[in-house]
Subunit: 171 residues, 3 copies
Protein backbone atom coordinates (compact mmCIF):
# COMPACT_ATOMS: atom_id res chain seq x y z
CA UNK A 1 0.00 0.00 0.00
CA UNK A 2 2.91 2.33 -0.76
CA UNK A 3 0.56 4.58 -2.69
CA UNK A 4 -1.96 5.03 0.06
CA UNK A 5 -1.77 8.67 1.00
CA UNK A 6 -4.64 9.02 3.41
CA UNK A 7 -3.51 9.45 6.99
CA UNK A 8 -5.64 7.83 9.68
CA UNK A 9 -4.34 10.32 12.22
CA UNK A 10 -6.47 13.21 11.03
CA UNK A 11 -9.65 11.20 10.83
CA UNK A 12 -12.30 10.81 13.48
CA UNK A 13 -13.02 7.27 14.61
CA UNK A 14 -16.48 7.04 13.05
CA UNK A 15 -15.07 8.02 9.68
CA UNK A 16 -12.75 5.03 9.53
CA UNK A 17 -15.27 2.26 9.88
CA UNK A 18 -14.00 -0.52 7.62
CA UNK A 19 -16.07 -2.02 4.81
CA UNK A 20 -17.88 -5.05 6.22
CA UNK A 21 -19.62 -6.53 3.25
CA UNK A 22 -19.56 -6.27 -0.56
CA UNK A 23 -22.82 -7.18 -2.30
CA UNK A 24 -22.10 -7.58 -6.01
CA UNK A 25 -24.89 -7.75 -8.61
CA UNK A 26 -23.56 -9.42 -11.77
CA UNK A 27 -25.90 -8.81 -14.72
CA UNK A 28 -23.55 -9.38 -17.64
CA UNK A 29 -21.97 -12.47 -19.22
CA UNK A 30 -18.95 -10.88 -20.87
CA UNK A 31 -15.78 -12.38 -19.47
CA UNK A 32 -14.27 -9.02 -18.53
CA UNK A 33 -17.28 -8.17 -16.37
CA UNK A 34 -17.39 -11.66 -14.86
CA UNK A 35 -13.70 -11.49 -13.93
CA UNK A 36 -14.06 -7.94 -12.58
CA UNK A 37 -16.84 -9.20 -10.34
CA UNK A 38 -14.93 -12.28 -9.15
CA UNK A 39 -11.74 -10.27 -8.51
CA UNK A 40 -13.69 -7.74 -6.44
CA UNK A 41 -15.35 -10.56 -4.46
CA UNK A 42 -12.08 -12.39 -3.93
CA UNK A 43 -10.22 -9.19 -3.03
CA UNK A 44 -12.86 -8.52 -0.40
CA UNK A 45 -12.42 -11.97 1.19
CA UNK A 46 -8.64 -11.49 1.27
CA UNK A 47 -9.20 -8.35 3.36
CA UNK A 48 -11.60 -10.10 5.72
CA UNK A 49 -14.62 -8.43 4.12
CA UNK A 50 -17.76 -10.52 3.59
CA UNK A 51 -18.78 -10.85 -0.03
CA UNK A 52 -21.82 -12.08 -1.89
CA UNK A 53 -22.64 -12.24 -5.60
CA UNK A 54 -26.19 -12.02 -6.95
CA UNK A 55 -26.23 -13.46 -10.47
CA UNK A 56 -29.02 -11.92 -12.51
CA UNK A 57 -30.00 -11.44 -16.17
CA UNK A 58 -27.12 -12.58 -18.44
CA UNK A 59 -24.87 -12.87 -15.38
CA UNK A 60 -26.63 -16.18 -14.69
CA UNK A 61 -24.50 -17.69 -17.45
CA UNK A 62 -21.46 -17.45 -15.20
CA UNK A 63 -23.02 -20.06 -12.89
CA UNK A 64 -24.73 -22.18 -15.56
CA UNK A 65 -22.80 -25.47 -15.72
CA UNK A 66 -22.82 -25.82 -19.50
CA UNK A 67 -21.91 -22.23 -20.25
CA UNK A 68 -19.53 -20.95 -17.64
CA UNK A 69 -16.38 -22.07 -19.46
CA UNK A 70 -17.60 -20.60 -22.75
CA UNK A 71 -17.99 -16.93 -21.87
CA UNK A 72 -16.61 -14.41 -24.34
CA UNK A 73 -15.04 -11.02 -24.49
CA UNK A 74 -17.19 -8.61 -26.46
CA UNK A 75 -15.03 -7.52 -29.41
CA UNK A 76 -17.68 -5.65 -31.36
CA UNK A 77 -18.83 -2.48 -29.71
CA UNK A 78 -15.90 -2.64 -27.32
CA UNK A 79 -13.29 -0.07 -28.32
CA UNK A 80 -11.07 -1.45 -25.57
CA UNK A 81 -10.34 -4.49 -27.69
CA UNK A 82 -8.36 -2.54 -30.32
CA UNK A 83 -10.09 -4.41 -33.10
CA UNK A 84 -11.81 -2.41 -35.86
CA UNK A 85 -15.58 -2.81 -35.67
CA UNK A 86 -15.84 -4.65 -39.01
CA UNK A 87 -13.02 -7.03 -38.11
CA UNK A 88 -14.53 -7.55 -34.68
CA UNK A 89 -17.59 -8.91 -36.42
CA UNK A 90 -15.68 -11.52 -38.40
CA UNK A 91 -16.13 -15.10 -37.21
CA UNK A 92 -13.14 -16.10 -35.16
CA UNK A 93 -12.12 -12.65 -33.96
CA UNK A 94 -14.22 -12.89 -30.81
CA UNK A 95 -12.85 -16.36 -30.11
CA UNK A 96 -9.31 -15.08 -30.64
CA UNK A 97 -9.74 -12.09 -28.34
CA UNK A 98 -11.32 -14.34 -25.71
CA UNK A 99 -8.44 -16.81 -25.99
CA UNK A 100 -5.91 -14.01 -25.63
CA UNK A 101 -7.63 -12.63 -22.53
CA UNK A 102 -7.88 -16.09 -20.95
CA UNK A 103 -4.20 -16.66 -21.70
CA UNK A 104 -3.23 -13.38 -19.99
CA UNK A 105 -5.40 -14.31 -17.02
CA UNK A 106 -3.69 -17.68 -16.75
CA UNK A 107 -0.23 -16.05 -16.76
CA UNK A 108 -1.36 -13.97 -13.78
CA UNK A 109 -2.54 -17.12 -11.97
CA UNK A 110 -6.17 -16.11 -12.32
CA UNK A 111 -8.13 -19.36 -12.58
CA UNK A 112 -10.77 -20.12 -15.24
CA UNK A 113 -14.39 -19.31 -14.35
CA UNK A 114 -15.37 -22.71 -12.93
CA UNK A 115 -12.32 -23.03 -10.73
CA UNK A 116 -12.62 -19.38 -9.66
CA UNK A 117 -16.19 -20.06 -8.49
CA UNK A 118 -14.96 -22.98 -6.38
CA UNK A 119 -12.31 -20.78 -4.78
CA UNK A 120 -14.89 -18.07 -4.08
CA UNK A 121 -17.27 -20.60 -2.49
CA UNK A 122 -14.44 -22.09 -0.41
CA UNK A 123 -13.40 -18.63 0.77
CA UNK A 124 -16.89 -17.89 1.99
CA UNK A 125 -18.29 -15.76 -0.83
CA UNK A 126 -22.01 -16.43 -1.02
CA UNK A 127 -23.27 -17.20 -4.52
CA UNK A 128 -26.95 -16.44 -5.21
CA UNK A 129 -29.08 -16.85 -8.33
CA UNK A 130 -31.84 -14.33 -9.09
CA UNK A 131 -35.24 -16.02 -9.05
CA UNK A 132 -36.78 -13.73 -11.65
CA UNK A 133 -33.92 -14.16 -14.12
CA UNK A 134 -34.07 -17.96 -13.67
CA UNK A 135 -37.77 -17.85 -14.57
CA UNK A 136 -37.07 -15.59 -17.54
CA UNK A 137 -34.41 -17.92 -18.97
CA UNK A 138 -36.29 -21.12 -17.94
CA UNK A 139 -33.38 -22.27 -15.80
CA UNK A 140 -33.78 -24.59 -12.83
CA UNK A 141 -31.31 -25.19 -10.03
CA UNK A 142 -29.90 -28.44 -11.42
CA UNK A 143 -28.50 -26.53 -14.39
CA UNK A 144 -26.58 -24.24 -12.05
CA UNK A 145 -23.31 -24.92 -10.21
CA UNK A 146 -23.38 -27.15 -7.13
CA UNK A 147 -21.71 -24.47 -5.02
CA UNK A 148 -24.74 -22.19 -5.35
CA UNK A 149 -25.94 -21.02 -1.94
CA UNK A 150 -29.51 -20.58 -3.09
CA UNK A 151 -32.03 -18.58 -5.05
CA UNK A 152 -33.05 -15.08 -3.95
CA UNK A 153 -35.65 -12.52 -4.94
CA UNK A 154 -34.58 -8.89 -5.20
CA UNK A 155 -36.27 -8.35 -1.83
CA UNK A 156 -34.23 -11.16 -0.25
CA UNK A 157 -31.10 -9.58 -1.67
CA UNK A 158 -31.92 -6.19 -0.16
CA UNK A 159 -32.57 -7.90 3.18
CA UNK A 160 -29.11 -9.49 3.08
CA UNK A 161 -27.56 -6.11 2.26
CA UNK A 162 -28.62 -4.62 5.58
CA UNK A 163 -26.17 -3.16 8.02
CA UNK A 164 -23.54 -0.45 8.29
CA UNK A 165 -20.47 -0.89 6.14
CA UNK A 166 -22.27 -2.75 3.36
CA UNK A 167 -21.72 -1.66 -0.24
CA UNK A 168 -23.63 -2.69 -3.34
CA UNK A 169 -22.14 -2.69 -6.84
CA UNK A 170 -23.99 -3.27 -10.12
CA UNK A 171 -21.68 -4.94 -12.63
CA UNK B 1 -36.43 -16.31 2.20
CA UNK B 2 -35.71 -20.01 2.70
CA UNK B 3 -32.20 -19.49 1.36
CA UNK B 4 -31.25 -16.72 3.70
CA UNK B 5 -28.59 -18.17 5.93
CA UNK B 6 -27.52 -15.15 7.93
CA UNK B 7 -28.66 -15.30 11.53
CA UNK B 8 -29.71 -12.02 13.12
CA UNK B 9 -28.92 -13.46 16.54
CA UNK B 10 -25.16 -13.19 16.14
CA UNK B 11 -25.24 -9.65 14.81
CA UNK B 12 -24.95 -6.48 16.78
CA UNK B 13 -27.86 -4.08 16.48
CA UNK B 14 -25.97 -1.39 14.57
CA UNK B 15 -24.96 -3.90 11.91
CA UNK B 16 -28.55 -4.66 10.96
CA UNK B 17 -29.69 -1.20 9.95
CA UNK B 18 -32.02 -1.74 7.00
CA UNK B 19 -31.51 -0.12 3.61
CA UNK B 20 -33.47 3.13 3.53
CA UNK B 21 -33.04 4.39 0.01
CA UNK B 22 -31.84 3.12 -3.36
CA UNK B 23 -30.50 5.79 -5.72
CA UNK B 24 -30.19 4.27 -9.19
CA UNK B 25 -28.25 5.97 -12.00
CA UNK B 26 -29.43 4.62 -15.36
CA UNK B 27 -26.98 5.52 -18.13
CA UNK B 28 -27.83 2.88 -20.74
CA UNK B 29 -30.74 2.35 -23.15
CA UNK B 30 -30.48 -1.41 -23.66
CA UNK B 31 -33.67 -3.08 -22.55
CA UNK B 32 -31.89 -5.52 -20.21
CA UNK B 33 -30.29 -2.65 -18.29
CA UNK B 34 -33.51 -0.65 -18.24
CA UNK B 35 -35.46 -3.62 -16.85
CA UNK B 36 -32.72 -4.41 -14.32
CA UNK B 37 -32.98 -0.83 -13.09
CA UNK B 38 -36.79 -0.84 -12.93
CA UNK B 39 -36.89 -4.22 -11.17
CA UNK B 40 -34.39 -3.02 -8.56
CA UNK B 41 -36.43 0.17 -8.02
CA UNK B 42 -39.70 -1.71 -7.82
CA UNK B 43 -38.24 -4.40 -5.54
CA UNK B 44 -37.08 -1.64 -3.21
CA UNK B 45 -40.56 -0.09 -3.00
CA UNK B 46 -42.05 -3.53 -2.25
CA UNK B 47 -39.74 -3.76 0.78
CA UNK B 48 -40.63 -0.28 1.98
CA UNK B 49 -37.32 1.14 0.74
CA UNK B 50 -37.34 4.59 -0.92
CA UNK B 51 -36.14 4.55 -4.51
CA UNK B 52 -35.14 7.13 -7.07
CA UNK B 53 -33.88 6.81 -10.63
CA UNK B 54 -31.59 9.38 -12.24
CA UNK B 55 -31.79 8.98 -16.03
CA UNK B 56 -28.58 10.14 -17.69
CA UNK B 57 -26.74 9.70 -21.00
CA UNK B 58 -28.49 7.06 -23.13
CA UNK B 59 -30.66 6.14 -20.14
CA UNK B 60 -32.69 9.25 -20.98
CA UNK B 61 -34.27 7.24 -23.81
CA UNK B 62 -36.17 5.19 -21.25
CA UNK B 63 -38.17 8.30 -20.32
CA UNK B 64 -38.36 9.89 -23.79
CA UNK B 65 -41.99 9.55 -24.93
CA UNK B 66 -41.25 8.61 -28.53
CA UNK B 67 -38.52 6.12 -27.74
CA UNK B 68 -39.35 4.29 -24.56
CA UNK B 69 -41.34 1.51 -26.25
CA UNK B 70 -38.63 0.98 -28.87
CA UNK B 71 -35.65 0.03 -26.74
CA UNK B 72 -33.59 -2.95 -27.88
CA UNK B 73 -31.52 -5.75 -26.53
CA UNK B 74 -27.92 -5.50 -27.71
CA UNK B 75 -27.27 -8.66 -29.74
CA UNK B 76 -23.89 -7.74 -31.17
CA UNK B 77 -21.17 -7.61 -28.60
CA UNK B 78 -23.39 -9.38 -26.09
CA UNK B 79 -22.31 -13.01 -25.72
CA UNK B 80 -25.29 -13.52 -23.43
CA UNK B 81 -27.58 -13.51 -26.44
CA UNK B 82 -26.21 -16.78 -27.87
CA UNK B 83 -26.15 -15.30 -31.33
CA UNK B 84 -22.91 -15.48 -33.32
CA UNK B 85 -21.41 -12.03 -33.80
CA UNK B 86 -21.91 -11.99 -37.58
CA UNK B 87 -25.51 -13.13 -37.30
CA UNK B 88 -26.12 -10.65 -34.49
CA UNK B 89 -25.27 -7.92 -36.99
CA UNK B 90 -27.85 -9.01 -39.57
CA UNK B 91 -30.89 -6.78 -39.84
CA UNK B 92 -33.77 -8.34 -37.98
CA UNK B 93 -31.73 -10.33 -35.44
CA UNK B 94 -31.74 -7.52 -32.90
CA UNK B 95 -35.49 -7.05 -33.41
CA UNK B 96 -36.02 -10.79 -32.96
CA UNK B 97 -33.99 -10.99 -29.76
CA UNK B 98 -35.78 -7.92 -28.43
CA UNK B 99 -39.18 -9.44 -29.25
CA UNK B 100 -38.20 -12.69 -27.52
CA UNK B 101 -37.08 -10.89 -24.39
CA UNK B 102 -40.23 -8.75 -24.27
CA UNK B 103 -42.33 -11.90 -24.70
CA UNK B 104 -40.58 -13.61 -21.76
CA UNK B 105 -41.05 -10.48 -19.67
CA UNK B 106 -44.77 -10.45 -20.48
CA UNK B 107 -45.14 -14.10 -19.42
CA UNK B 108 -43.67 -13.13 -16.04
CA UNK B 109 -46.16 -10.26 -15.72
CA UNK B 110 -43.42 -7.67 -16.14
CA UNK B 111 -45.07 -4.70 -17.87
CA UNK B 112 -43.68 -2.89 -20.92
CA UNK B 113 -41.46 0.14 -20.28
CA UNK B 114 -44.17 2.84 -20.38
CA UNK B 115 -46.53 0.98 -18.08
CA UNK B 116 -43.67 0.03 -15.76
CA UNK B 117 -42.76 3.71 -15.42
CA UNK B 118 -46.35 4.50 -14.42
CA UNK B 119 -46.26 1.77 -11.78
CA UNK B 120 -42.95 3.06 -10.45
CA UNK B 121 -44.29 6.62 -10.25
CA UNK B 122 -47.47 5.43 -8.54
CA UNK B 123 -45.46 3.41 -6.02
CA UNK B 124 -43.43 6.47 -5.06
CA UNK B 125 -40.23 5.96 -7.03
CA UNK B 126 -38.87 9.38 -7.92
CA UNK B 127 -37.95 9.77 -11.59
CA UNK B 128 -35.31 12.41 -12.42
CA UNK B 129 -33.75 13.49 -15.69
CA UNK B 130 -30.10 14.57 -15.81
CA UNK B 131 -29.80 18.21 -16.84
CA UNK B 132 -26.44 17.81 -18.57
CA UNK B 133 -27.58 14.82 -20.64
CA UNK B 134 -30.75 16.67 -21.67
CA UNK B 135 -28.58 19.54 -22.93
CA UNK B 136 -26.28 17.12 -24.72
CA UNK B 137 -29.12 15.40 -26.56
CA UNK B 138 -31.10 18.67 -27.07
CA UNK B 139 -34.08 17.30 -25.16
CA UNK B 140 -36.59 19.46 -23.35
CA UNK B 141 -39.07 18.41 -20.67
CA UNK B 142 -42.08 18.17 -22.99
CA UNK B 143 -40.39 15.29 -24.83
CA UNK B 144 -40.08 13.36 -21.58
CA UNK B 145 -42.76 11.39 -19.73
CA UNK B 146 -45.38 13.29 -17.74
CA UNK B 147 -44.57 11.34 -14.57
CA UNK B 148 -41.11 12.88 -14.41
CA UNK B 149 -40.45 14.41 -10.99
CA UNK B 150 -38.01 16.96 -12.33
CA UNK B 151 -34.59 17.72 -13.71
CA UNK B 152 -31.50 17.43 -11.53
CA UNK B 153 -27.83 18.30 -11.79
CA UNK B 154 -25.29 15.79 -10.54
CA UNK B 155 -24.92 17.98 -7.46
CA UNK B 156 -28.67 17.88 -6.80
CA UNK B 157 -28.55 14.10 -7.12
CA UNK B 158 -25.75 13.83 -4.57
CA UNK B 159 -27.73 16.08 -2.21
CA UNK B 160 -30.74 13.75 -2.47
CA UNK B 161 -28.49 10.75 -1.75
CA UNK B 162 -27.62 12.00 1.73
CA UNK B 163 -28.26 9.97 4.83
CA UNK B 164 -27.43 6.65 6.41
CA UNK B 165 -28.74 3.58 4.68
CA UNK B 166 -28.65 5.10 1.20
CA UNK B 167 -27.05 3.12 -1.62
CA UNK B 168 -26.10 4.29 -5.10
CA UNK B 169 -25.91 2.00 -8.12
CA UNK B 170 -24.59 2.87 -11.58
CA UNK B 171 -26.44 0.87 -14.23
CA UNK C 1 -32.30 22.68 -6.76
CA UNK C 2 -35.85 23.78 -7.57
CA UNK C 3 -36.85 20.18 -8.12
CA UNK C 4 -35.64 18.89 -4.81
CA UNK C 5 -38.76 17.85 -2.96
CA UNK C 6 -37.35 16.24 0.16
CA UNK C 7 -37.85 18.37 3.24
CA UNK C 8 -35.04 18.30 5.80
CA UNK C 9 -37.51 19.27 8.52
CA UNK C 10 -39.10 15.84 8.76
CA UNK C 11 -35.83 13.97 8.83
CA UNK C 12 -33.83 12.96 11.84
CA UNK C 13 -30.30 14.30 12.04
CA UNK C 14 -28.56 10.96 11.52
CA UNK C 15 -30.48 10.44 8.29
CA UNK C 16 -29.08 13.54 6.68
CA UNK C 17 -25.39 12.75 6.90
CA UNK C 18 -23.93 14.11 3.67
CA UNK C 19 -21.93 12.00 1.23
CA UNK C 20 -18.26 12.30 2.13
CA UNK C 21 -16.49 10.37 -0.58
CA UNK C 22 -17.24 8.90 -4.01
CA UNK C 23 -15.06 5.93 -5.00
CA UNK C 24 -15.54 5.29 -8.72
CA UNK C 25 -14.35 2.10 -10.41
CA UNK C 26 -13.98 2.70 -14.15
CA UNK C 27 -13.72 -0.60 -16.04
CA UNK C 28 -14.76 0.48 -19.53
CA UNK C 29 -13.11 2.49 -22.31
CA UNK C 30 -16.19 3.70 -24.17
CA UNK C 31 -16.30 7.46 -24.18
CA UNK C 32 -19.82 7.66 -22.72
CA UNK C 33 -18.77 5.63 -19.67
CA UNK C 34 -15.52 7.58 -19.28
CA UNK C 35 -17.39 10.90 -19.38
CA UNK C 36 -20.08 9.63 -17.00
CA UNK C 37 -17.31 8.70 -14.56
CA UNK C 38 -15.48 12.02 -14.89
CA UNK C 39 -18.70 14.05 -14.58
CA UNK C 40 -19.64 12.14 -11.40
CA UNK C 41 -16.15 12.71 -9.98
CA UNK C 42 -16.13 16.38 -10.92
CA UNK C 43 -19.68 16.91 -9.64
CA UNK C 44 -18.60 15.43 -6.32
CA UNK C 45 -15.66 17.84 -5.99
CA UNK C 46 -17.94 20.79 -6.80
CA UNK C 47 -20.09 19.78 -3.80
CA UNK C 48 -17.09 19.43 -1.51
CA UNK C 49 -17.24 15.63 -1.68
CA UNK C 50 -13.95 13.71 -1.91
CA UNK C 51 -13.62 11.65 -5.09
CA UNK C 52 -11.29 8.96 -6.33
CA UNK C 53 -11.23 6.97 -9.55
CA UNK C 54 -9.82 3.44 -9.78
CA UNK C 55 -9.03 2.69 -13.43
CA UNK C 56 -9.21 -1.04 -14.10
CA UNK C 57 -9.62 -3.41 -17.06
CA UNK C 58 -10.36 -1.41 -20.23
CA UNK C 59 -10.84 1.70 -18.12
CA UNK C 60 -7.04 1.90 -17.98
CA UNK C 61 -7.15 3.26 -21.54
CA UNK C 62 -8.59 6.50 -20.21
CA UNK C 63 -5.27 7.18 -18.44
CA UNK C 64 -2.94 5.66 -21.06
CA UNK C 65 -1.11 8.59 -22.68
CA UNK C 66 -1.26 7.29 -26.25
CA UNK C 67 -4.90 6.24 -26.12
CA UNK C 68 -6.86 8.66 -23.99
CA UNK C 69 -7.67 11.04 -26.85
CA UNK C 70 -8.77 8.18 -29.10
CA UNK C 71 -11.63 6.63 -27.11
CA UNK C 72 -14.78 5.78 -29.02
CA UNK C 73 -18.49 5.59 -28.56
CA UNK C 74 -19.73 2.05 -29.08
CA UNK C 75 -22.09 2.23 -32.05
CA UNK C 76 -22.62 -1.49 -32.56
CA UNK C 77 -24.53 -3.13 -29.78
CA UNK C 78 -25.57 0.26 -28.45
CA UNK C 79 -29.20 0.93 -29.33
CA UNK C 80 -28.79 4.39 -27.82
CA UNK C 81 -26.83 5.47 -30.85
CA UNK C 82 -29.84 5.25 -33.24
CA UNK C 83 -27.72 3.60 -35.87
CA UNK C 84 -28.94 0.30 -37.34
CA UNK C 85 -26.72 -2.56 -36.28
CA UNK C 86 -25.40 -3.28 -39.79
CA UNK C 87 -24.62 0.37 -40.43
CA UNK C 88 -23.01 0.67 -37.01
CA UNK C 89 -20.53 -1.94 -38.16
CA UNK C 90 -19.46 -0.02 -41.25
CA UNK C 91 -16.03 1.59 -41.07
CA UNK C 92 -16.40 5.25 -40.30
CA UNK C 93 -19.74 5.10 -38.49
CA UNK C 94 -18.11 4.66 -35.10
CA UNK C 95 -15.72 7.51 -35.85
CA UNK C 96 -18.64 9.69 -36.93
CA UNK C 97 -20.71 8.96 -33.82
CA UNK C 98 -17.65 9.60 -31.65
CA UNK C 99 -17.00 12.91 -33.42
CA UNK C 100 -20.63 13.95 -32.93
CA UNK C 101 -20.55 13.14 -29.23
CA UNK C 102 -17.25 14.97 -28.74
CA UNK C 103 -18.68 17.96 -30.59
CA UNK C 104 -21.75 18.05 -28.31
CA UNK C 105 -19.50 17.75 -25.28
CA UNK C 106 -17.41 20.68 -26.49
CA UNK C 107 -20.51 22.85 -26.95
CA UNK C 108 -21.36 22.19 -23.30
CA UNK C 109 -17.84 23.21 -22.25
CA UNK C 110 -16.96 19.65 -21.29
CA UNK C 111 -13.24 19.30 -21.96
CA UNK C 112 -11.61 16.45 -23.90
CA UNK C 113 -10.40 13.46 -21.88
CA UNK C 114 -6.79 14.61 -21.32
CA UNK C 115 -7.76 18.09 -20.21
CA UNK C 116 -10.61 16.72 -18.07
CA UNK C 117 -8.10 14.50 -16.24
CA UNK C 118 -5.92 17.54 -15.51
CA UNK C 119 -8.92 19.39 -14.10
CA UNK C 120 -9.88 16.40 -11.96
CA UNK C 121 -6.33 16.09 -10.62
CA UNK C 122 -6.17 19.83 -9.90
CA UNK C 123 -9.51 19.69 -8.09
CA UNK C 124 -8.25 16.94 -5.79
CA UNK C 125 -9.76 13.83 -7.39
CA UNK C 126 -7.35 10.95 -6.76
CA UNK C 127 -6.52 8.94 -9.86
CA UNK C 128 -5.44 5.33 -9.29
CA UNK C 129 -4.44 2.56 -11.69
CA UNK C 130 -5.32 -1.06 -10.91
CA UNK C 131 -2.18 -3.16 -10.46
CA UNK C 132 -3.72 -6.37 -11.75
CA UNK C 133 -5.07 -4.74 -14.92
CA UNK C 134 -1.69 -3.11 -15.58
CA UNK C 135 -0.08 -6.55 -15.38
CA UNK C 136 -2.74 -8.03 -17.64
CA UNK C 137 -2.23 -5.40 -20.33
CA UNK C 138 1.57 -5.22 -19.83
CA UNK C 139 1.42 -1.53 -18.98
CA UNK C 140 3.96 0.23 -16.84
CA UNK C 141 3.61 3.57 -15.11
CA UNK C 142 5.53 5.59 -17.71
CA UNK C 143 2.81 4.83 -20.26
CA UNK C 144 0.19 6.32 -17.94
CA UNK C 145 -0.61 10.00 -17.34
CA UNK C 146 1.74 12.04 -15.16
CA UNK C 147 -1.12 13.09 -12.87
CA UNK C 148 -1.62 9.52 -11.69
CA UNK C 149 -1.59 9.30 -7.89
CA UNK C 150 -0.35 5.73 -7.85
CA UNK C 151 -1.05 2.08 -8.40
CA UNK C 152 -3.42 0.17 -6.09
CA UNK C 153 -4.45 -3.41 -5.54
CA UNK C 154 -8.12 -4.17 -5.01
CA UNK C 155 -7.32 -4.52 -1.31
CA UNK C 156 -5.73 -1.06 -1.22
CA UNK C 157 -8.83 0.33 -2.91
CA UNK C 158 -11.12 -1.21 -0.31
CA UNK C 159 -8.90 0.23 2.43
CA UNK C 160 -9.27 3.72 0.94
CA UNK C 161 -13.05 3.27 0.77
CA UNK C 162 -13.39 2.99 4.54
CA UNK C 163 -15.59 5.28 6.57
CA UNK C 164 -19.17 6.43 6.87
CA UNK C 165 -20.56 8.39 3.97
CA UNK C 166 -18.42 6.65 1.34
CA UNK C 167 -20.09 5.30 -1.79
CA UNK C 168 -18.65 2.97 -4.43
CA UNK C 169 -19.82 2.90 -8.03
CA UNK C 170 -18.83 0.39 -10.72
CA UNK C 171 -18.86 2.04 -14.13
Amino acid sequence: MENTIESPVNKKVDEKKPIKKMMLILSKATIDNVYACFILANGARMEGIESEIFFTFFGLEAITKKKLEHLHVATVGNPGMHIPTMLGGLPGMEALATKMMKSEMEKLDIPPVGEFLEILAASGTKLWACKLAMDMFHLDKDKLIDDLDGVLTVGDFYARAQGDGTHLLFI
